[in-house]
């Protein structure tokens, strides 16, 4: 298989279709979607809302089954959630009855030893800058802090790929741009593969090495762009602005 030969390849989505059925008919959410993502890469999937980008991410995560086609992770067919992938959802989805510390180590209990869990939890919380809040409960956190805990929880799971579903869309503009910078920092420190779904073109341009533009009804990948700009990215350069215009034009 070509997938096994290519050592760099981590995720391969191959001819994926998804149809949702309901009482009033069926919706073709995804049509013949193909994409690849290499190890260590930061990839963004951008598209208007309702274009199926979240569905695509959920299929990669194994939370949803494709109606047709396959997803391969390191050459193995994805058949459900796995410990090699961790999802950060649009909302933090923290457990209100657990402290920050326990929320972070959520996926680890029963898998790792107590001392290992403690170490990983502390490292993950340190990475998102919340080590001093480990005894706090979610109701005591701001939206940005809660989403950081969700990211720490994903990191602590020690996945090969982080799957982020519009993780900053519910945050205010200032917090969002701070979190974006932190995410780049995190990616460079941990060398994790990141797949980000967003409707925010600016965000995709600031963060990713590769942008996949999706078009709606049915959702399909229209174009893949390599983003050549160095990090940290300057949003005011002519090239950046041009590229943003180009994507904006092509997204609808």
């Amino acid at each position: 298989m070509t997938i096994a030969e290519n050592k760099k390849l981590l995720v391969e989505v191959s001819n994926v279709n998804k149809t949702f059925y309901s009482n009033w008919g069926s919706v073709n959410a995804l049509y013949e979607v193909n994409l690849t993502c290499n190890k260590g890469e930061f990839v963004s999937i951008v598209g208007a809302s309702g274009c199926g980008k979240t569905t695509l991410l959920r299929i990669i995560a194994g939370l949803e089954n494709p109606s047709g086609g396959e997803v391969y992770f390191e050459g193995n067919k994805v058949q459900g959630p796995g410990s090699d992938r961790a999802v950060v959802f649009q909302e933090p989805r923290l457990f209100p009855w657990l402290t920050v510390e326990k929320n972070t180590s959520f996926g680890l209990q029963g898998v790792k030893s107590k001392s290992e869990i403690k170490k990983i939890t502390e490292e993950s919380l340190a990475l998102v800058g919340l080590i001093n809040f480990k005894k706090a409960y979610p109701y005591e956190l701001s939206g940005g802090m809660a989403q950081r805990v969700a990211i720490a929880r994903a990191l602590a799971f020690e996945p090969k790929a982080l799957l982020l579903d519009e993780p900053f869309s519910a945050l205010d503009a200032q917090t969002r741009s701070r979190m974006q910078l932190e995410l780049i920092d995190l990616w460079q420190k941990t060398a994790k593969t990141i797949i980000l779904v967003t409707h925010d073109i600016e965000e995709a341009l600031i963060l990713s090495e590769k942008i996949m533009i999706m078009s709606p009804s049915p959702g399909s990948i229209k174009e893949v762009l390599e983003i050549p700009f160095p990090y940290p990215r300057n949003q005011d350069t002519q090239d950046f602005i041009e590229l943003r215009k180009y994507i904006k034009k092509n997204i609808s």
Binding site: L63, F89, R93, F95, W97, F106, Y137, Y139
Partner: protein, 267 residues
């Protein structure tokens, strides 16, 4: 800090004072009416007389003895009820197929007040402890069971999905997502169940018992001692109140995150 603490203390004192104002008013009016000769002492004793009987019964150990008998029954029945209603509630809430098998039966049983079972329980289990414990189990079962089912069925599917994404086993999913999530509702059920079985116990003891706080009422009626009846009623109410307060305190201790919901309600 100190100022805030004092303030909050004042606030609780205020709440207590406000809550006690109405009963205090009733007692004063009652006592006045009695002193003015408006009440027949044989039927309506004065608050002072009731207080006197209360102290007498407290210090000669009569009240303690009966209260202890009631408490022991309550403890047995209540724990058996919790241990059966919670697991069954989890099962029924989680397994939709199972629900169809037991729901009609349970809905039927739910309509029958505990007191209706007392004669049959006595017939089957004898006049001793077993029949009274059975009534308590029955009385506490439904609030606990129904609230457990409700708790399980109203678990946030988004949190269940997090559990799925983080590869929880079915058992872990129940332990780490369903049980704590349903915990609040289960606890409400436990509180309701406990006050329910406290009331059912008094009824059962009134019908057939020689010990227990309910039997004191029957004794008071048979011997024409209304002061004894009032003391019993007072004790029942206060004991119930204390139990409920303790459970509320426990709830706050076990579920500090409940504050989130409270602040949510306020905002």
């Amino acid at each position: 800090m100190v100022i805030i603490k004092l303030f909050s203390n004042n606030k609780t004192i205020n709440t207590i004072l406000r809550g006690a104002a109405f009963p205090f008013l009733i007692i004063v009016l009652w006592e006045i009416a009695f002193r003015l000769g408006m009440l027949n002492a044989l039927i309506v004793p004065s608050p002072m007389a009731i207080g006197h009987t209360f102290m007498k019964m407290l210090f000669n150990g009569l009240l303690g003895k009966h209260l202890l008998a009631s408490t022991i029954r309550l403890t047995y029945g209540f724990f058996i009820s919790v241990l059966s209603a919670v697991p069954l509630g989890l099962l029924v809430g989680k397994a939709k197929g199972f629900r169809h098998w037991v729901n009609p039966t349970l809905s039927f049983l739910q309509q029958i007040p505990p007191i209706a079972w007392i004669p049959i329980f006595i017939l089957w289990l004898g006049i001793d402890e077993a029949s009274k414990v059975a009534v308590i189990i029955y009385a506490a079962f439904f609030p606990i069971f129904l609230n457990t089912v409700q708790g399980v069925t109203s678990v946030d599917p988004k949190l269940v999905e997090v559990g799925r994404a983080y590869m929880l086993s079915p058992i872990q999913m129940i332990r780490k997502v369903y049980v704590p999530s349903a915990g609040m509702s289960i606890f409400v059920g436990i509180r309701l169940g406990l006050s329910n079985c406290w009331r059912a116990l008094v009824m059962a003891e009134m019908i057939a018992a020689s010990t227990g706080i309910g039997s004191l009422i029957t004794e008071g009626r048979q011997l024409s001692q209304p002061d004894k009846i009032f003391v019993s009623i007072l004790t029942i109410g206060m004991a119930g109140l204390i139990i409920d307060t303790l459970l509320k305190k426990m709830e706050n201790r076990l579920m500090p995150w409940k504050k989130m919901y409270r602040s949510g309600e306020r905002g």
